[in-house]
Subunit: 200 residues, 4 copies
DNA sequence: AATGAATGAGCCTTCATTCAT
DNA sequence: CATGAATGAAGGCTCATTCAT
């Protein structure tokens, strides 16, 4: 991202980002079209290159922004006192679902990012974003452990990784069964999860 | 597919198909590159068009071939006498896992196909392939029902659809947890599944 | 045609159109080469696609432009008072000849267009252009009839069609006898024409 | 043409030539497709290259054959005693029309050849074929002059050239007015022609 | 800084011609 | 000699990126 972009008025920035998110939500990285973004944001194609070095740079910026927004929407959970792990876990997933419902474009965008194949140009995005998300939860969990709200015997990184992937699993499942009611499904899922943990 | 391709020596056909599967396993339809396939198969770019009308025709042929191979690898299950549905279901998933392990390229390819967005050129592939697979299992299940090996009260199509989506879910899960032992995971999954059915 | 083309400087537009007319005057539609046009106009191949959607769109634009130019060069005849039909007819042909002499490239181009075979991509151009030209003369003749300068008993459309085809015949003849003096030939032709009308 | 072609059975030769004439009657030189000829003649594509050096060589062979056939169909006129030039001229045109009616494919083919643009690969075919045809008539006319059946004051070459182009003019006219009865039209045309000669 | 025209690499596809069997 | 698979040059078109205003 170039400094030029930051100097833009909030409105312009917002319109531009919405257009860009929309484009990368509808098309994967290779298929996404800079011209279409410019058109949709009602700016000149050349302006995009005043704001960002190139397509890749814009894409990575969007990823970072989307993750930040999602994490901000979730982080407040960790501010509250949570008596046990299951309680916390449920809230995370609940919040995840809520965010996806309220931000369908971002949700599609982030799903696309997670599906992006290993690729010479972008590197292994899947791994990259996984690590990023895991790191976020790891910090949250560590904070909880410091407050003795989560068992300190559990490895924070492992648990973080587990939470991240689990949430992805829920999203994937809902994509496959789009008619399923998310809230009811989440409940069933958590029940299964609870039972599964007991079994294993 | 053109007759020219069928007349090719088995070796040439194999090398070509491997190259093509590899390409469409690494890249989605739009990003896949005919030139790269030719290079990888050590033939001239023009030769590809002696074998197939165009990119799309090649792609659809590959889909059909991959599905056929997978179904052949699985169909033998239905020849044996299976005492109950759970037994059969377990074997299907077991066989699915085995096939994916033994044919990693085909597995990636079919996964890509299932992820292909709805698209003017290709139509709704996701729906198409889903129907194709469902039909296959529907026939198998109907045969079992004729032999009274599966409860005839169950609607064959619904059950078939369920099996297909369920298998896809397992594959997806294993993609997310690549380090998990597939066999152990399958067992856990099936146990959950059994319990889930009791619960719901 | 895209707006980009219209915004170009007159000089650039002129050079481009000259190159394009030249190309389609030397080669038929299928053989005409976008790369050659770009080279001749000293622009990048891609620029052609900034100006026009595709080859066909460019071709149709050129046809329309050429017809317009020719019609403009001829239309002033109808502003003058012409005492009789033969007088008018002679002037039309005279003007046609003059235009072809002064615009040899356009003449070749329009001849090529009229020779273009019926074709899935372009449709029946011969019929299309014939209709276009006939319509132009039809209007002119109707105006003359309104001023009582041409016998109102004559069907304007039929006469228009006759004029168009007749002019095409003259052009064809001159193409076959390139050394013939056009003016002298036109006179002979008109004399024959006059006699022919008396005979038939 | 290669000797291989001559050694072919008459039937095979005929089928091949018919296919080739058909192709070059339907498409101009550049658009004509060797593969389509082979397919139509039910031989292998490679065989075409056993018979002819290349596309150009085949094309020129076809031109020569078609001209020969047409000339043979007409030449018998000159064997008969014709009292005057107009008589002969009428018979030539009559015979030309007859030939075109009986050999529609050859007629289309030869028309295409005459319309072929100047072209780096083929050279100026229009001029070439014109000269060829002119030479033929020139010889015929000279023979008539030797028998004192045509005025020896007339330059044989000029008259020959005139005859050739005149016939082309008739063909062109009939193409533009396809509903016109050729025989009736020819009569009108010749009457005009006779009058025209008196005038000039 | 904004604009949008200019660029050219890259892709799919066609087809005359060659070559191995 | 027949066959038809193999070849590769060429052409239309797209689009990220640069550049001149």
């Amino acid at each position: 991202m170039k400094p030029t972009f930051e100097k833009l008025s909030t409105q312009k920035k917002t319109i531009f980002l919405e257009s860009a998110f929309q484009e990368f939500a509808l098309y994967d990285y290779a298929q996404a079209n800079i011209g279409r973004i410019a058109q949709s944001a009602q700016i000149a194609k050349g302006s995009v290159y005043q704001y960002f070095e190139d397509k890749k740079s814009l894409y990575f910026y969007l990823i970072q922004q989307a993750q930040q927004k999602k994490q901000q929407a979730i982080s407040h959970i960790f501010q509250e006192k949570n008596d046990d792990f299951f309680n916390l876990f449920e809230k995370i997933n609940q919040q995840n679902l809520l965010f996806d419902e309220q931000n369908p474009v971002l949700q599609k965008f982030l799903y696309n990012v997670s599906q992006e194949r290993h690729n010479e140009e972008l590197g292994n995005l899947h791994e990259k974003t996984l690590k990023q998300s895991t790191l976020f939860f790891q910090k949250m969990i560590a904070q909880q452990q410091a407050k003795n709200l989560i068992d300190t015997n559990i490895d924070a990184q492992t648990l973080a990784f587990f939470v991240v992937n689990h949430s992805a699993g829920i999203a994937e499942f809902l994509k496959i069964f789009p008619n399923e009611n998310p809230q009811i499904f989440l409940k069933k899922w958590l029940t299964l999860f609870e039972k599964a943990l007991c079994i294993s």
